[in-house]
Symmetry: C2
DNA sequence: GGTCGGAGCTGCAACGATTAGGCAAACGTT
DNA sequence: AACGTTTGCCTAATCGTTGCAGCTCCGACC
């Protein structure tokens, strides 16, 4: 109900005239007609169909973002960056949670393709040696050929531009910070097995330890990106002495888990041991966690901007990788250690 | 590119045949033709236009959710509930951040109306005596007349069904818990001024205090829903002795702020003072905060289900209010007090 | 006074998909 | 050979919007 046709009829004008009034074309319209159309639209509660408009204009003004889990603050900050840019440009954000499953990612990408999204932003990290990766890459290519932009927010071979922070450098920097504070035996709690992000952060840690000639005292233990994993990993660390000088968790949430495990074991932080994370989520501020701030909001915002600014037909510039800078945030969970 | 027409041409069949193959009509199709069409669709990377389909089927399979800020875990949990149900039903979630601004809320509602969303979920709380409320209510009514369902997740006079937790009862219950632990002088850190949610939670607190004959020792101080507000309010509390026996913050994040202010002032929790929050966000678990668990995920999920299950034309059942139950979660920031 | 030009409006095709009805082959059966 | 059934074609309409081509006035200019 209340289509343009009805507005036109109510105003006693042709459909095309109503159309031109309601979205200001350059075509001249008399003030009287204009007023009549506007009044009719108002009276009927006219709502222009973005669907029909999208069909003819070949632009849906829809923007897709694929996150692992929007409840995870890492992703919600990204989503916020995306949505702010999208909204300001008159676009609407389509959100999908893919729970780190490549198959779901493929499925949701296809769906967003069906909606003729202007672009799709991949916020989640991929897996090393993912058997489904080729299928995803193919789906991305098909979408691109159709004029749908794809942007990945993590280093990942999707055949699309990457806008990201340097996870590896972030891990390197936080490690370097601990080293420069005098820590020697540093343990690294890894992310979930198989993820590219896990790999990168561990490599950053190991590279720094190696550069500092501390490769022997570097210790990597399996963990995860959540509180429970950080907690459990730290418990294991405590159970098998000697305790390291410092613990770096693969992300902030795991670091908070580590912090709590240490507190429960009555091990003083940062007196006996320093703890650091990566991401600088809001919770890091709450618990005074030393961490590395990743430009998550900017990543989302810039990805959205890239999609909206690049002409639909234009070359997506497949190979480009943009690295946004991170920043060390020293707080209270790390302290200098006199060796 | 790659419309149904092209698939049909590539397969050497009529468009209607291709259509029937690709979305299984009752019309009989030979296996050979079917295979040929599917192969052609596959080869061309055919992606059925959800836009065109929505236009003719009069169902966009789009579901809108309006949150204040997706970064706020309160809302991201709701959004997750919505998206899970939507995705399972083959719908796509449209997300918008409205930053607690009614004007933006109206604007985004109109936009989702333009996209012919099956429904729009209002997750944010409104304001008391909001001058823009009537405009919003009118917009909601127009949307409903158009067959778009609206659901509010907070008690709010939008003229649409409400699916919510009883904020006031939650506040009452957490207060009662503290009272039953022996606390007498309890301070309540309020939410942001003017919000309906703020009002409800304060009323719950006051009602319980009154019921316990503790109205005189009840103390309400202005605060907010964020860490900084909780921190600042607690600082003010500390600056003006006597310190209460317990602090209840309007939500968990403010409670964490309170916790940190107390720690900085070297006031032992729960030894000298108990602290509690409301919401049971993930951070509450991290810091061992006693709180009330609100069924946020279920609210989102149930709202989405309501929208998808109710026939587009059917009566929305405007007046109904569904209350989902909350649950007290005692943790380590509250303790019995011998008086 | 005829033509030009522009203002102001109309009508039509197109976007991509769905659906229904009518019809025509091809095929097997009797 | 007559018959029914299967299978697929074609045509037309529909959804709501847009943009283009064209039409009709009317005043102005030479």
């Amino acid at each position: 109900m209340s289509s343009l046709v009805e507005v036109a009829r109510a105003a006693g004008v042709a459909v095309s005239t109503a159309s031109r009034v309601l979205n200001g074309s350059s075509h001249p319209i008399s003030a009287a007609t204009r007023a009549r159309v506007i009044a009719a639209a108002e009276r009927l509660g006219y709502s222009p169909s973005a669907l029909a408009r999208a069909l003819v204009s070949r632009s849906s003004r829809l923007l897709g973002v694929l996150v692992s889990d929007i409840v995870n603050p890492y992703f919600s900050v990204i989503a916020r960056g995306v949505d702010d840019v999208a909204t300001r440009a008159g676009y609407v954000t389509m959100l999908s949670n893919v729970d780190r499953r490549t198959a779901t990612e493929i499925n949701r990408l296809q769906t967003m393709r069906n909606y003729r999204a202007a672009g799709v932003i991949f916020a989640g990290s991929g897996y090393v040696d993912d058997p489904e990766a080729p299928t995803l890459v193919k789906a991305v290519r098909q979408a691109q050929e159709q004029g749908i932009h794809a942007v990945s927010l993590t280093v990942r071979d999707l055949g699309c531009p990457v806008i990201t922070a340097d996870s590896q450098a972030a891990a390197y920097d936080i490690t370097d910070h601990l080293v420069s504070l005098g820590h020697r035996r540093i343990a690294f709690i890894e992310g979930p097995p198989g993820m590219i992000a896990t790999h990168q952060r561990r490599e950053g840690f190991l590279a720094c330890m190696s550069d500092a000639d501390l490769a022997e005292t570097a210790r990597c233990i399996p963990g995860g990106f959540d509180y429970e994993a950080g907690h459990a990993a730290t418990m294991r660390l405590i159970a098998r002495p000697p305790l390291p000088d410092a613990i770096i968790a693969a992300n902030d949430e795991a670091a908070v888990g580590a912090l709590n495990a240490l507190r429960q074991a009555r091990i003083d932080v940062p007196g006996e041991i320093s703890v650091a994370g990566i991401d600088d989520l809001r919770v890091a501020q709450f618990v005074g966690l030393t961490t590395v701030s990743l430009p998550l909001y900017e990543m989302g915002a810039m990805a959205a901007r890239h999609i909206l600014d690049t002409a639909p037909g234009a070359d997506t510039g497949d190979a480009t990788t943009t690295i946004l800078s991170h920043r060390l945030i020293p707080r209270e969970t790390t302290a200098r250690r006199s060796s």
